[in-house]
Amino acid sequence: MAEFKYIPQSEIFNCSVELSGAKKFYVLDGKPMGFSAKDEVIEIPSEGDLLTQVIFVRTTPHPSSYKVRIFCPAGSSRAVILCAHTTGTDRYVTEESVEIVMEENSNLSLIVMQNENGASSHHSTFEITQKSSSSVSMNIITLHGGNIANRVNCSLNGKRAEVQLSGLYLAGGEQNIDTTVNLRHNSGECTSNQLFKGILGGNARTSFMGEVYVAKDSQKTEAYQANNNLLVSDTARAISDPHLVIYADDVKCSHGSTVGSLADEELFYMRSRGISEPEAKLLQQQAFAGAVLEKISNVEIRERLSRLVERRLRGEDTLCTGCAKRCC
């Protein structure tokens, strides 16, 4: 990973490259713009079949704390993307809690994109509760940030509920990115699948703490958990601690974690074909990240994020093609 300089947005954030089929909302320093908060909870608007894009921007250095709720009524299907940005290089401190309520047979595709300055501190807690036959696909893509902590608590409370959780964190410089997952199979016949991957350069520190809990009567549970970390500098450090707590006996569960560096024989093979060393390393890193990006079903968002990840790995501005601003 090349050394990356985050260039913040200099004016009030305005994403100038539209996502097709999306309705855009802004939240500035925890205050929703043009839509209201009920009982101090920012309810993410539902726009029928449209993708709801909510852009959270930090503009003032005062600490900000807010609550967000995504409600998916029975039988509904929603797609939401939440983006977090900073407009300056101040030390923004953000405490965010996101409640996600999944009624019977509901479906949610959620992408969380985080791209903040290297001094910012952003702590998010995602509290997901799922009723029977509901389905959640959640991807957390952390491009940049100072001190980022993402905690996902997910409770599968009804039969045949499904959750796919994935995350990609790119940490360089002095960044610190922590991920904590607490997944509770409180009901049987549910499936959970986790894949979290990190690429670490510089003096970055990351941690992954993951617990999958399978309650006593939660038979026919399927639960998979993986965390893989790629170290591209000698001084980066990744901690990985996945674990399973299983009280039911008829389950399929697995977990695994790796911390490693780029494979030398792959590198030599690529170089022997005339791919220069930096480009070969970049290909390896992109391949590593690809397994998470692949899980994003919206093709437009997947391609856009893949491009942003590539630029991030190259040490370029994380700028969307066609955008004159320097934000995401």
Binding site: E265, E266, F268, Y269, M270, R271, S272, R273, G274, I275, S276, E277, E279, L283, Q284, Q286, A287, F288, G290, A291
Partner: protein
């Protein structure tokens, strides 16, 4: 004619173990050389050293390629200068598609020659044409490099890559190992189509089998890190008939 490659008194080791103990070899454009030898004679070490594998250390001797000191060049510089190694065990690279891999390689070669990168359409046309050389299905292009490929498919992929990069000096390290007769014929046909007056091949093999298809001009027998005999193509038949023992006295 100018020598393409000149190896003089080459000694190389891996770890503390000396494998090459004074290799001398000269290759001219248009020639096909075969290097035969038992396992452990140093065949693969020689090809690895030529391609710039940093696991091996050259302790003595020199390699001159087109008048330049090859040992001072990085693996990618050697590739740009026209050296190609067909791997005995092609490496699998999960997550990097064949098309992305080769497109990056071809465009890096073009960059070195001050040529603009190929457009997607130009690349696709070139790729289809070269894949046909080795009867490779275009569907392989979207798969991870060598991932899940059979032994024969991997070797065909090596020859396809060679066709894409159009090298001056190709070293094929036991390209015949693990191939059935059909795959052997396909691979050999691919190689024969790429022969030109200005390029050369070094075919490394245990057996004469491959040399029935790719006919060498010069055959060398390697034994304990040295070339112990050099002769015309009839030497391959002699090895096949009598084995390596008579060269090992």
């Amino acid at each position: 004619m100018e020598n393409l490659l000149e190896i003089k008194n080459l000694h190389a080791k891996i770890g503390e173990k000396e494998i090459l103990k004074g290799i001398n070899l000269t290759i001219k454009p248009g020639e096909v050389h075969a290097i035969m030898g038992r396992n452990g004679s140093g065949k693969s070490t020689l090809s690895a050293v030529l391609a710039g594998n940093q696991n091996y250390t050259v302790t003595e001797g020199s390699i001159t390629y087109l008048g330049k000191d090859l040992l001072k060049m990085s693996p990618e510089e050697r590739s740009w200068a026209g050296i190609f190694l067909g791997f005995q065990y092609p490496v699998e690279i999960p997550g990097v598609t064949n098309v992305n891999f080769m497109k990056t390689a071809v465009n890096e070669h073009r960059k070195q020659n001050n040529l603009p990168p190929l457009s997607a359409a130009e690349y696709l046309k070139m790729m289809r044409e070269k894949m046909a050389y080795v009867e490779m299905d275009p569907s392989f292009s979207s798969r991870g490099v060598n991932v899940g490929f059979s032994g024969g498919e991997k070797k065909r992929n090596e020859i396809f890559q060679m066709a894409m990069l159009s090298p001056r000096l190709a070293i094929l390290d036991e390209t015949d190992s693990g191939l059935d007769v059909d795959a052997l014929r396909i691979v050999a046909n691919g190689v024969n189509r790429l022969k030109r007056e200005d390029n050369a091949f070094v075919v490394i093999t245990h057996y004469q089998r491959l040399l029935d298809y790719i006919v060498p001009d010069i055959v060398h027998v390697l034994y304990k890190g040295k070339i112990v005999k050099t002769a015309g193509k009839e030497l391959a038949a002699e090895v096949e008939k009598h084995g390596y023992e008579e060269f090992e006295k």
